[in-house]
């Protein structure tokens, strides 16, 4: 084993151990929450509820998981606003593209006879 494995690395003066320890508890709680939500999603699809209700809840839970990982695991809440704006711009364009494509390419807007002929 090299010496480097046993010697603690030099830490920068601005490193705040207490804030890192607080983050640890946040990460543990978040991981447990995400696992629980995944379990709820799994059970939800087998329940005899209204399909629209189930779909809405699934999408809401998925969006919550998505933004929870971005906010805490990806440190966006602790970082500069610029990074949120940069990612938000890309995400907004992506969501806009998905919505536009879904609207334009809905079965009522597609000419299936033209596709068959092609």
């Amino acid at each position: 084993m090299s010496e480097a494995e046993y010697t603690p690395l030099p830490v920068s003066p601005d490193t705040n151990h207490s804030s890192e320890n607080e983050k640890y508890h946040t990460f543990v709680n978040l991981a447990l929450g995400l696992a629980a939500i995944t379990g709820i999603e799994l059970v939800l699809v087998y329940l005899p509820f209204n399909p629209i209700f189930i779909t809405t809840v699934l999408v809401a839970l998925s969006i919550f998981k998505f933004f929870a990982v971005i906010a805490w695991f990806m440190h966006l809440v602790y970082d500069k606003l610029l990074l949120t704006l940069v990612f938000g711009a890309g995400l907004s364009i992506a969501v806009g593209t998905v919505i536009a494509l879904m609207c334009v390419m809905s079965p009522s807007h597609v000419d299936f006879s033209a596709i068959e002929a092609f």
């Binding site: 010496e3 830490v11 991981a31 696992a35 399909p51 500069k80 890309g90 992506a94």
Partner: protein, 204 residues
Amino acid sequence: MSDSATASHDNGHHSLIENNKKLLMWLFLGSDCMFFGTLISTHLIYRKLYPDANNPLEFFDLELTSFSTFILLMSSFLMALAVSAMHKGQIKSFRRNVIGVIFFGLIFLGCQVYEFTHFVHAGLTISTNTFGSTFFVMTGTHGCHVAIGVFWLICMYFYSHTGKMDAHESAVDVEVAGLYWHFVDIVWIVIFTAVYLIEYIPGK
């Protein structure tokens, strides 16, 4: 230039590089969002246009996919701990967590290979129909991202044994790798709901 002025200039230079590394990664992730957005929407559109192309429930194994999802979520948790350990200068803790992330990443890839093999044996390939094409391209692209992430972390793990890492500069490199890994996780969160779970809703 005095020593203190030189040191201040160096610190400012390093800080700028660190900020730029993170900014570039976030820019890349923003663009990757658009990439996966189009892949997922293409799958959903063709699923709606040709609902009879395949019955996905004949192929899907929700228990396996849920297990993969859980594994990826836990790998994200370990990655967050690895980044935190690096910020505190705890290299041994960093290595332990990264090994965990690599292990979970490999399990996820193994599950995906098993799933793809099962699909092919059941008669669904990338050229069978629109469902097969969009499904394999979308999940395959995600799998490639996971494989790249695993390779990146393996390189980082071995680099940590060279003794060249220091908590201040390398923490940003680990954080950037972590951002990539978490992104792979959030893409799967969307795919899991939009592609797998939705199919199981009764009477949809």
